[in-house]
């Protein structure tokens, strides 16, 4: 495309209203054209004002920990590609924490989160394309992992897991080759099934495993042998 043709699309680009291939053309041009970059900057500022148009909604309190986890786990480390994959997996995790409810707001947020995770697990269980893997090992309890390789959604459904002990948490790992990647930490809830929802590219992983780690954040690499393992099959 010519400069003039690109220029006609800069406003739409600022609103994210270009198809992916058109957006790539514009980006290639922007890298080399100061005029178009200036033009884009002005349009983007107006677009940011449009962002104020949405109804104000409060981010659930429990989200903060999950969203910031990437920085905690990466502090001081130059990310290589393995790290990138692990962090992507960690960032995609929806984790429902029991037992850390301090205020009513947090309790409500935790409850909302749990309902959402249960909804996702129910949808997975109802979907004929989903696969179910039962984890086995040394720990008591019924722990199954249900996932849909096509959509990349999965959920760990656990009942009857015992409290791991003070200051300890269960940590869920996705295993690709010899590299376990954290998919989040959790503590068992006493009555209802505990559900940990996960969204990743499942064909990459051969197994899911659970180990016991220090709370509240778990470990970067498993520090102990897994107590439960389930094979995801495939490759």
């Amino acid at each position: 495309m010519t400069h003039d043709e690109i220029r006609e699309s800069i406003a739409a680009y600022a609103l994210h209203a270009l198809a992916a291939d058109d957006a790539r053309d514009v980006e290639a041009h922007l890298a080399a054209c100061d005029d178009c970059r200036r033009e884009l900057a002005a349009f983007e500022q107006t677009a940011a004002s449009l962002a104020e148009g949405f109804r104000v909604a409060e981010a659930p309190g429990a989200l903060r920990r999950r969203a910031l986890a990437v920085a905690r786990s990466e502090r001081g480390v130059r990310p290589g590609w393995v790290w990138g994959a692990a962090l992507a997996a960690a960032a995609a995790v929806i984790l429902i924490l029991g037992g850390v409810t301090v205020s009513l707001t947090q309790r409500l947020a935790a409850l909302n989160g749990r309902v959402e995770a249960q909804t996702q697990a129910l949808a997975l269980l109802a979907d004929p394309a989903s696969r179910v893997v039962t984890l086995s090992g040394s720990a008591a309890g019924s722990v199954r992992f249900v996932f849909d390789p096509a959509t990349g959604r999965g959920a760990l459904v656990a009942t009857g897991l015992r409290d791991p002990g003070p200051d300890l948490v269960y940590q869920l790992w996705l295993v690709a080759g010899a590299t376990p990647q954290s998919a989040g930490v959790f503590r068992p809830a006493s009555v209802v099934p505990l559900i940990v929802a996960v969204g990743v590219n499942f064909p990459r992983y051969q197994a899911v495993a659970i180990s016991v780690e220090h709370g509240p954040n778990g470990a970067v690499r498993p520090s102990a042998a897994p107590i439960l393992v389930g094979k995801l099959g495939g490759g």
Binding site: A12, H16, A48, I94, P166, G199
Partner: protein, 244 residues
């Protein structure tokens, strides 16, 4: 909610060594906190591991925080989260109408900020503009994925053009933005609302409205230029993004 006693040790032979290390250390630090002399407490207050450091960060502007995030400063990242999570979640929730997806998008956005802060160029626009652009972009991507995925029930599988425009326009809640949009011609407003709030591409808009693509480009462009003159300039205060 949690009643479980620590009766599980016997079942977890590999984990028992782990039990020893953690608690005594914690108790020691709690003790030190309550019995430390005033001078030590003062030192503890100004140490970067505590709240005063965060409040200093809160006085920094978005661009300074992004520069720190580019250097992997996790406290600056937290300060940015506290400043922009509400607005980001509002954008995602407004676009997707689904708390689970909105939370996923919010996480994606902050992941992108953490990894992409090095790409932020303060000579090309404010940090606020950059962050809100990332938030909208991720929300649009998620909305388009949801539309492609037929198993997701969307509230707006609407056939009628007017319905589609109204559904997109219903996402505009703030009075000052509504009034600014009313300053546009009907055609410009429809194009901009469908693009920004509806998440449609310019091709999709042209098809839906049955007008040439070039016309839609012109309406979006002229509409945005007009909006620029009627929308109030964004506030530049460091805490300007506190969502009530």
């Amino acid at each position: 909610m949690m009643h479980g006693a620590a009766t599980v040790r016997g079942n977890l032979p590999w984990s028992t060594p782990v039990l020893g290390g953690c608690r005594p250390g914690r108790e020691r630090s709690a003790l030190a906190r309550t019995t430390a002399p005033p001078a030590l407490i003062a030192l503890w207050l100004v140490s970067p591991a505590r709240g005063s450091a965060v409040s200093l960060l809160n006085a920094e502007d978005d661009e300074a925080l992004l520069a720190r995030v580019a250097e992997s400063d996790s406290r600056a990242f937290e300060a940015l989260y506290d400043r922009y999570s509400g607005r980001t979640y509002s954008i995602a929730m407004g676009m997707l109408r689904d708390p689970v997806r909105a939370q996923e998008v919010t996480q994606d956005v902050f992941f992108a900020i953490w990894r992409g802060a090095r790409d932020f160029d303060p000579t090309r626009g404010s940090g606020r503009t950059w962050i809100l652009s990332v938030a909208h972009h991720k929300s649009v991507d998620a909305l388009r994925r949801a539309r492609r995925n037929p198993t997701v029930p969307l509230s707006e599988t609407l056939a009628n053009d007017t319905d589609v425009i109204e559904a997109a326009q219903a996402r505009v809640d703030a009075g000052h933005v509504r009034r600014a949009l009313e300053a546009l011609s009907l055609e410009q407003r429809a194009a901009i609302v469908l693009a920004y709030y509806g998440g449609y591409t310019q091709q999709e808009i042209a098809q839906r409205l049955g007008v040439p693509l070039g016309t839609i480009k012109t309406r979006i462009r002229d509409g945005l230029i007009r909006l620029r003159s009627v929308l109030p300039a964004p506030s530049a205060s460091p805490q300007g993004e506190t969502v009530r």
